[in-house]
Symmetry: D2
Subunit: 339 residues, 4 copies
């Protein structure tokens, strides 16, 4: 491509995340514009499109992708709708940024992978935005530098103030730990080979029946362990932390110390209450990187293989949660396109 | 204005700062484009303009401002050139974002103020970008909330790895402490009434003859003290810190704890080496806010009065440095346009 | 007892730990004096005793306990020698402070427990000195206050610079994790019911054949999980950290931030290299508390039951390490004397 | 001396500080015992002495010093009573640890200095206990190591929750800043040559009429500046912090991060409310070091010269507070005994 005109983007899904991306492309990304918006709720699509010059509103994703000036697609619809949209985009050979999960399970992810392989080149990026967070990027760079030696363990904490009403025990794995699954794969450059889920007593602060917190241990083909505390009703704040323990040192991110006060017998600071605050910049940087690489005709971010691997690990994790033991992860052979 | 088309900006000055702004407007700001670039060095202007679609190159600022599609001006030329450019922009009633200093001294700042008053409305914003830094913004919000009570003291640290070759002892005040002068005025909402400059022994790490570090104490009309350690050859990193001491607590920014390592007998992290890293996001947010408010036809940032007040305080500071005592600051009455 | 004269102590074992206790009693403990020292190496016993007024040297622990002026016993000999000394002390109804482990295995600990039960009152305290560390004490007080709600998880880190030459893979459990076993029981007030040991790749920094690091997960009868990273060749320092995750918040100890420097592009501080530095004050406070309670005729610290429970958990841990799975802990019924 | 028997100490003054020292010598110091206690209030002296075996009670300091078994004197009476007690102790050639201030003013300090010079050897140590605080000791060691280069500035913070009812504006200097006066002299190895006191608006939290906070700048004969924020009604806690700014780096103490919690939207920890908590260990270490060196027949701590210099600087500080300007400090020549 290597184009100079702005990239025209069709945004599929105009819920909180989709509307957020529309605002982002309009406001904080150079070289891109929102050309079309689609949502099953026509009024919602129109409300979002109304603010953007030259942007059309649709209820059908395919219609949005076919709208004038559309060069690429950003998928922010619910997970179960992703497969159809992705297959349509691949059919039109359109570059895609697809919010996580790629698809809700490994089988459907494999179908997308087959379609992209049939196309013969990579077009799809998955929205694992932590890869664009400044702290994770610094941690990755430090690990890759070799200064600390080989990574042996990764300790992760993932805490939310409260879970939404529809949250189930298995969604702690598929919706939340999915981020650490990708972060572990990416930071360490390993595939995950087994999952164990340990279940401490449920917190009195969690809704009746929800197994919250959980403690997940991932094993990798590089011999590393990655443990994840997932606690989605911790009550006090949104916290994402990671500590890599390597042969010659450790590195920790996620403490966030911007403003420190002394008040009423205590020192300290506030804790972010929400992912949209903690990772706002990561989303900006993710979309900016995607727009830039797309204009150059490249795919540089996490792709369909990463979306598939995460889905397969999460499936194993749900079985481990249900059965209480250790479950091995079975991945297909990695196709040449993704090596 | 309240326009939907992108704001066409003439960037005056294509040195490091100007080129940085051109890249910023092209890459990270929505709703704006670089329409013209001017630099006394024609080759430099052309090199910068070449990368931008539809951008013209000039050696004369006035020609750049008169170029097709120019709606606003960003001034990033050397300080002594600011006055002429600002007067020309005011004459054309063009919105301006002018890098600090507004002008090198209070007398020239007053001439700009008179021109803007004659125009009858505010058009000029000064580039005190710390007002857009997330940490300063949080500190300001906390002070304004009244939770800590009235601010009584502000302790500032401003440290650079090394000063550029042309730096003089008085530039520690006019070029560096100028930031804390504005930050003090803005955070506290006070005017500065007197300046004392104390001079510890010069560091062996400073160039021969440079009075570095210095310790500056600002007194305000609200009864507060603001002390500033300025140390431009500290050798170890770029650090900007501030602690507000209020009647019921204190608040501190600038420690920056993103990635903490344990290695070789030490815990800790790296220190930024450069303002362009520490304040990159603040520059983005400053220009974005200026573009947005300009498209709405407003001036919301620091203006000519702030540029003048900073110049007057710095002039007093230079006298205090030279004479070793306390020097009072004499401001003109604040015109109605700036109340 | 409730005595006013100083407590005369026989110190059994004059190696590093024993000599350290002799110096401690002589220098930093009021109300106590070293009355006798025993070591299998006569010269070592005599060298230590020579500095202390009125202190006799022995090779036989029993002789030291029978020496004039001996009111109590501090056992700092190697673990395998503990049982005989403890049984002798119990026979003479002497108060004992016994360095950990109480005895090397659960069976021998049970024999000591039976002897003390036959005596009919508690006389033996075990040297789990973390219960006297100021940070652990504050964490325990916070957990007991109920402010954070019920504890659900405890994340522990235990890192040493390098292991001594004689260290084996199972000693990571029995010698090192033993501390976290007791800390978990004490902090949470739970018994441990199962142990899982996960083995990441061995560090290149560990001696050939040593499984280092290990990751141990303890389950408790209160439904809590306590995970322990044990890494005895981490290379960079001695670090003991714990984070309790409760229903309404978390609390973390072990970061230690006394002196923070900015130097050469890095901020941070030094990491303790040795337990004797990190826990020096805890040892002082432990011995002082033991002397004080002994003079009042009481036993207030961890006792034989705690020593037995730790031994039983560590035995299960060694089996878990060897077999790679989860091993349940089987404790005898808690005798009335220890309720 | 170089004695093996315990040092018998007469404690003069049985108020909070004196009683605290009696308990300390009895409980946490090896090689010393309280032989006599004196207080103008006989009942108070008796109450304190009653708990200590072989300790006599007195109303007259001289009688206490002459009591059987007294080898040394610890002075913890009010400052105005110090001179007479010190002169009596010097007359009897008894080693003394005298709580700060040595005496309330420079003139009386000079009289003590003359008496000690007449005696011909040093016997008096002044209770500047920060020299024994682990953090200050580490800072001093780091500065002395030369790693950071020459110290240029010292930024000090000294905050109390609330001042006692009898506190006056000049006591912020003589009672509180006196600690930073000594710490500055000791850490830098410089004498203080001038004092400036700046007065921000008084806090609404301070009692009517009290100039609180104050900002004191000390200049030294080594060309360093030491600034002190003294704020004795800060409301939120007791904080003592110091940051040394040197030619190649800075070092900061006093942040104290032992237990960090996440709770209710905030991370952080508690702030000590009282000096007795913050400096408990420093007092223990000070008295232990004094007892040890006294038994060896040496004086190793701060002496009469240090007490005199602090008094002279504080006198200048009070004049600076009253007059609002810079006041030079005039010291007598340092006698040979104190070089």
């Amino acid at each position: 491509m290597n184009r100079r005109e702005p990239l025209g983007i069709a945004v599929i899904g105009a819920g909180r995340m989709g509307a957020d991306h529309v605002r982002r492309i309009d406001r904080t990304i150079g070289g891109a514009r929102v050309a079309a918006v689609a949502d099953v709720d026509a009024a919602r699509a129109e409300a979002v499109a109304a603010d953007i010059e030259g942007c059309t509103a649709h209820t059908d994703p395919a219609a949005a992708m076919a709208a004038p000036g559309v060069d690429a697609v950003l998928v922010a619809s619910p997970g179960p709708a992703h497969e159809a949209t992705l297959l349509a985009a691949i059919e039109h050979d359109l570059p895609v940024l697809c919010e996580k999960p790629l698809t809700p399970d490994a089988a459907s992810a494999l179908r997308v992978m087959e379609a992209e392989q049939a196309l013969g080149h990579r077009r799809v990026q998955v929205g694992f935005m932590r890869r664009y967070d400044a702290e994770y990027v610094r941690l990755k760079a430090l690990l890759d530098s070799g200064q600390l030696g080989r990574p042996l363990m990764l300790h992760n904490r993932h805490r939310n103030v409260a879970s939404p009403p529809f949250f189930t025990s298995s969604m702690l794995i598929t919706d939340s730990v999915a981020h650490e699954v990708d972060a572990t794969r990416w930071l360490l450059g390993h595939e995950i080979t087994a999952v164990t889920v340990l279940r401490p007593a449920a917190s009195a602060g969690a809704p009746e029946g929800l197994r919250d917190p959980q403690f997940v241990v991932l094993e990798t083909d590089g011999g590393a362990l990655s443990d994840v505390e997932i606690f989605v009703n911790c009550g006090f704040g949104y916290q994402v932390q990671a500590e890599a323990v390597c042969e010659r040192g450790t590195a920790r991110i996620g403490d966030g110390h911007a403003l420190v006060t002394n008040m009423a017998g205590r020192w300290g600071g506030t804790i972010t209450q929400d992912w949209s605050e903690r990772f706002a910049q990561a989303y900006d940087d993710e979309v900016r990187a995607w727009v830039d690489s797309t204009r150059r005709g490249e795919v540089t971010g996490p792709g369909v293989w990463d979306g598939y691997a995460a889905a397969a690990v999460c499936e194993a994790g749900v079985r481990a949660l249900e059965n209480g033991g250790r479950v091995e992860v079975d991945l297909v052979d990695r196709p040449a396109l993704y090596r």
